[in-house]
């Protein structure tokens, strides 16, 4: 099969941009990505893209150019970006096309998400009685995890402290002012044990990635970051995931564990080879759990890792180098592609003051969401 990689990246800053639609943010990101690799829209042979709540990606051809290009819409919840990326990469690997676009964008109103039960296969009472909140689930998952593996409240704070510190140096991030550990630990409780500064917020943003075969990248002289794996998985029996009205007695496995293991097998490398990672941090507890679910450390090791600063920019394995969802916010359709964007920028050595040192060569990304979907990538230069 053909090797595939990323040759162009573009991002519309995350956060809030009054007066600009989600799809316009997607278009902005596509233009940035094309400019990044000196291509024109007409050079793009096919595209996959999507948003969760901001409309059909393919309508952006009206602004980008009516070239007749094949453009498939993707709607896969939090895995929308990851699924688009998978589809583009697979098509190029199969040899059908040489240059493709993956794009994701979204623009959510303020406050927590308000999904409707019938769209998620759930009874009406589950929403009506006040159970259908992602924050509630993540709080209960980390509460149990902290009990089982001796994780302290302070570790929750340390994650957020790192996120805001990293985001100060990321132009595309939303919340770019450092917040002290004390302020985080004293911020109002939202869903115990998680406090205000420990949660990400629904937000706005767009990300576009131009992918190409290695041969084509050489032909056009574009920088090539190889995509060793792009995997999406749904939940297995016995996992404990968002919007679980009930959970099996024997909890075992998760969508994240399935996706990460499949990616390691496909790429032939594992966590010990990673120089940096972007993992889903819907809140600081989620980052802690996902450190283990992705195999980056063992269950319970997070306490020591965080105390020793192992996931800081200058640590052994920097995690969420642009501040992650906590500092960038979460536009669902764009979030997973932001992680890949950040990894490409880091592997190219273009991350400025947040650059991971010692010439990183392998980068991992992981996105997760309701009702138990996960998408991961492994990039190598």
């Amino acid at each position: 099969m053909t090797d595939v990689g990323i040759i162009g990246v573009g991002i519309h800053p995350f956060g809030r941009t009054e007066g600009r639609s989600g799809i316009d943010m997607g278009i902005y990101a596509v233009r940035e990505a094309l400019s990044d690799c000196n291509l024109n829209w007409e050079d793009v042979q096919f595209a996959y893209g999507g948003s969760d709540a901001s409309g059909n990606a393919d309508t952006m051809v009206k602004q980008l150019g009516l070239s007749g290009v094949q453009f498939v819409n993707v709607k896969n919840g939090c895995a929308t970006g990851g699924s688009a990326l998978y589809a583009v990469a697979s098509t190029i690997k199969a040899g059908e096309y040489d240059i493709g676009l993956a794009v994701g964008f979204d623009k959510h109103p303020r406050g927590a998400f308000n999904p409707l039960p019938e769209e998620w296969g759930l009874p009406d009472w589950y929403g009506a009685q006040g159970y259908m909140l992602t924050t509630q689930f993540f709080a209960m998952k980390i509460k149990r995890y902290m009990h089982d593996f001796n994780i302290s409240d302070l570790s929750l704070g340390r994650i957020s402290e790192k996120s805001f510190a990293n985001a100060e140096h990321a132009e595309h991030a939303w919340r770019r002012s450092p917040v002290s550990l004390e302020e985080i630990m004293e911020s109002p409780m939202v869903n115990d044990p998680l406090r205000k500064y420990m949660f990400c917020s629904p937000a706005e943003g767009g990300v576009a990635l131009i992918l190409a075969s290695e041969k084509k990248a050489r032909e056009i002289g574009a920088p090539f970051v190889k995509l060793d794996a792009a995997i999406m998985r749904t939940r297995p029996q016995g996992s404990f995931e968002v919007f679980a009205t009930s959970v099996d007695n024997d909890i075992d496995g998760s969508a994240t564990r399935l996706a990460s293991q499949a990616a390691f097998e496909l790429a032939g490398i594992g966590p010990e080879d990673f120089d940096l990672a972007q993992i889903q941090d819907t809140d600081s507890g989620t980052e802690i759990i996902h450190m283990a679910e992705n195999g980056l450390c063992a269950d319970g090791e997070q306490e020591q890792w965080l105390a020793e600063g192992k996931t800081l920019l200058n640590g052994k394995l920097p995690i969420n180098t642009d501040g992650g969802c906590i500092a960038c916010g979460e536009p669902i359709g764009a979030s997973g592609l932001r992680q890949v964007y950040e990894n490409v920028v880091q592997l190219r050595g273009q991350a400025g003051a947040r650059q991971v040192q010692n010439d990183p060569r392998v980068a991992y990304s992981h996105v997760y969401g309701a009702p138990g979907v996960s998408a991961v990538t492994i990039l190598r230069k």
């Binding site: 009874p123 009472w125 009506a128 009685q129 709080a139 509460k143 009205t245 099996d248 007695n249």
Partner: protein, 138 residues
């Protein structure tokens, strides 16, 4: 195979002795339980009353008012406790916790099923919750 997948069975059932139970589903071959028993689940699960007593497996406090829709509670919001309750040998179900102060809740606490007035305010309508099992003095 039961191909009648229409309709949602009641998740909270009033039994003849006047007490309530949660109705889940059970698959004898796999030993798995599910709650509630949705239409699509009926292909694999038989209706079964769930245990009334269990222990708290995890919990949180819902401190902000969920958005409407889907939330149907009153505008005047009071934070509430939510837990996953481990029903031994069956499964864990998500439910509200009542009759207990936040600071007194802990993982492993024994609890039992109860009902509280439905937050939608519909007269006579109730919803399920769990409360601590009283430790009665001898």
């Amino acid at each position: 195979m039961n191909q009648d997948l229409t309709g949602e069975l009641p998740h909270l059932v009033l039994s003849e002795d006047g007490s309530y139970y949660l109705q889940g589903g059970h698959n004898e071959a796999s030993g798995k339980y599910v709650f509630p028993l949705m239409g699509g689940d009926k292909e694999f699960f038989q209706p079964v009353p769930l245990k009334r007593e269990g222990t708290i497996w995890s919990f949180t406090v819902q401190r902000f008012r969920p958005k409407t829709p889907p939330y149907a509670g009153p505008d005047d919001f009071v934070p509430y406790l939510v837990a996953y309750v481990d029903l031994p040998g069956q499964l864990k179900v998500e439910a509200r916790l009542v009759d207990i102060e936040e600071d007194d809740v802990e993982i492993g606490l024994p609890v039992e099923l109860t009902v509280i007035p439905d937050i939608t305010g519909e007269p006579g309508s109730v919803m399920h919750a769990f409360r601590p099992i009283e430790t009665r003095a001898a």
